[in-house]
């Protein structure tokens, strides 16, 4: 044997990514999620049966980056479009990325009813607690007191309601088979300048589980607690610290339902 030493790629290019540069702001979890989706699709060898439904908001261009067939839905209607695809073609792996405004505000009816019927689709909610693409208005998930362009004195929960917990709302329905919430941003550790990346690794696993649940006939929903430093008007790393401090207690990560026990194995 030769004593030659070489390098082997452990993680490399994903054919399920188009390679197009993203329009996302630096450090945005939308970008991170895109890679996780690509990875999970490849893990399930599902590219040829995958159909992405992109919604309105920062997720609207997901089909530019994910190299899969895609349909773009009107604002909030992605769950209905997904269900329409899946009912016509049960053999397809149908999934969508929605923001909090899209899924929890303008599209709540579509989300709740698709969930209640247990449509075998996978919905990935990016909850960054604010309207990103429209420029930083209050979202249903905005924490109390957060200053946004439409709550210049901070969100007053007495008049605008409390932050909307979509995962717990869906937990009240019998329809969903898989409900999980993942804290996606890099998270502060005991060491001041070191963050952990557990959210990304958990997120990729959650997506794979969600796909498995769909292919076993169940409705799966993963909420990704995320950040939006541009509209929160803080630095990138401060947005991650804020998310850990304020959003994580408000939207606790965890496995809320796993009817098929896909995570137990």
């Amino acid at each position: 044997m030769s004593a030659a030493v070489g390098y082997a790629t452990k993680w490399g290019a994903l054919p399920t990514l188009t390679g197009a540069p993203t329009h996302y702001c630096a450090g945005c979890e939308h970008g991170t999620l895109t890679r996780l989706l690509a990875s999970a699709i490849e893990a399930r060898q599902a590219r040829e049966r995958a159909v992405l439904v992109s919604s309105v908001g920062c997720s609207v261009l997901a089909h530019e980056y994910l190299n899969v067939d895609a349909v773009q839905a009107p604002h909030g209607r992605a769950p209905a479009v997904m269900a329409g695809i899946k009912r016509a073609r049960p053999d397809l792996l149908v999934f969508g990325v929605q923001g909090d405004g899209d899924a929890v505000s303008i599209g709540l009816l579509e989300l709740v009813n698709a969930a209640n019927r247990g449509e075998p689709i996978s919905i990935f909610l990016v909850n960054n607690a604010i309207y990103g693409m429209t420029g930083g208005q209050m979202a249903p998930t905005t924490p109390a007191g957060m200053v946004t362009t439409t709550t210049p004195n901070g969100r007053d929960v007495a008049t605008t309601g409390r932050p909307f917990d979509a995962t717990r709302l869906l937990l009240g329905l019998d329809g969903p088979a898989y409900l999980r919430r993942v804290f996606l941003p890099v998270a502060p550790t005991g060491s001041a300048d070191v963050f952990n990346a557990r959210g990304a690794l958990d997120g990729e696993a959650a997506i794979r589980h969600a796909f498995e649940v769909q292919e076993r006939g169940g409705f799966s929903f993963v909420e990704f607690v995320s950040t939006c430093w541009v509209n929160w008007k803080v630095s990138i790393l401060e947005s991650k610290r804020y998310a850990a401090r304020v959003l994580a207690p408000l939207f606790p990560p965890g496995l809320y339902r796993d009817r098929f026990g896909v995570e137990a194995r």
Binding site: D69, A70, Q72, A80, G84, A88, E110
Partner: protein, 368 residues
């Protein structure tokens, strides 16, 4: 295939017609006077005589229904939703997206009366909303208007054929009267047509993938897409005008009417011909594209008087006037609120028009 029932409501006939045309999925939200369409279809899922019909879902809202249909249409399958005015308004968002994404889709509007909740009587007051592209952003749809129960059964096949040929939403605009009217129904047994669906989003193969999106962030891209749509609508307007003529050859007055009004006009033509009045009927079958070429032909062959009969405050009369382009007198006879014009009113309007002075333009042509 099994023979259809032979005596049906218009709404039921339309449902059977859609099944015969290869309908795969129906999504709808109940609304009077259209509900016989979902009720008829709900019982047909899984029935061996309609093997393609696999999906029936009562949606949670009109919005959900049109978007479920968008999803199914994106897979290249034949899908339909049905509603009446208030629901048709709610569906406009989805129709705009479907037009932009070039999805073949059938939307049925069983027109009821009045703005707001109105009432359950027949009107044709959604004519503008249907024919002008009722949602945002400047698109057009094809609009078909049946005038009998057998035609309610026949038009879904034509609607799907046009929807897939041009990849565009198609609307069947009918009314509360025709939807509820019962008639004998001899429907020919025809096999569903097949169309190219290679554009559909059903999973990417190798480097080929399909993205059905209405978003074109680059201004030049949107410009190109809008021009592409406009060219398609122009081709449709050029080649897909459909209408029926009744006794127009020698007519002094040509009635123009669609749907239930065409039935009233047809009867009026018969009774007035019996009294020696030379009256004809032009019945648009495509409200969009409007059969303006046929109006043009009639004007060129000497018709100088058009009386437009419709159940609204005067909408199609604008299209007739545009087509006549000042070369003929165009009047309207309208009724609203769910009521129909009486035969006496139609007769009086025709007589008044027939004895009126020959329109100025025509007089000049005669002098020349």
């Amino acid at each position: 295939m099994t023979a259809l029932p032979e005596f049906l409501k218009g709404n039921e006939a339309l449902a059977y017609g859609a099944l015969r045309a290869g309908l795969t999925a129906f999504y709808g939200y109940p609304i009077t006077p259209s509900s016989e369409i979902p009720e008829t279809l709900a019982a047909k899922v899984g029935r061996p005589e309609f093997p393609r019909f696999r999906v029936f879902l009562q949606a949670a809202s009109e919005l959900e229904a049109i978007n479920l249909a968008i999803g199914t249409a994106a897979t290249g399958a034949r899908t339909m939703t049905a509603t009446s005015g208030p629901g048709f308004s709610l569906k406009q968002e989805g129709i705009s997206y479907a037009a932009a994404m070039e999805l073949p889709l059938l939307i049925v509007n069983v027109n009821r009366a009045g703005p707001g909740l109105g009432n359950l009587g027949p009107e044709q007051s959604d004519y503008f909303q249907a024919t002008r592209g009722g949602g945002h952003g400047g698109y057009r749809t094809i609009v078909l208007a049946p005038d009998s129960v057998p035609e309610m059964a026949r038009l879904p096949a034509l609607a799907f054929s046009l929807a897939f040929r041009y990849r565009t939403p198609v609307i069947v605009l009918t009314d509360a009267f025709l939807g509820q009217l019962k008639e004998d129904l001899p429907v020919p047994d025809v096999a569903p047509e097949e169309w190219d669906t290679s554009w559909a989003a059903t999973g990417a193969r190798g480097p080929v993938r399909h993205v059905l999106s209405s978003l074109h962030l680059e201004l030049a891209d949107q410009n190109r897409h809008s021009r592409h749509l406009a060219a398609k609508y122009a081709e449709i307007a050029r080649t897909e005008q459909r209408s029926e003529d009744v006794a127009t050859d020698d007519a002094d007055v040509v009635l123009v009417a669609f749907g239930i009004c065409a039935r009233l006009a047809r009867a009026a033509v018969g009774s007035m011909r019996a009294r020696g009045l030379r009256v004809g009927l032009l019945r648009p079958i495509t409200l969009a594209p409007f059969p303006r070429d046929r109006i043009d032909d009639l004007v060129l062959s000497g018709v100088r008087r058009f009386l437009v009969l419709e159940l609204n405050h005067g909408q199609m009369v604008d299209d007739v006037a545009l087509a006549a382009a000042g070369r003929a007198e165009v009047r309207g006879l309208t009724e609203v609120g769910g009521l129909l014009p009486t035969s006496a009113a139609i007769g009086a309007a025709v007589e008044a028009m027939a004895v009126s002075p020959t329109p100025l333009v025509a007089a000049e042509e005669v002098d020349a």
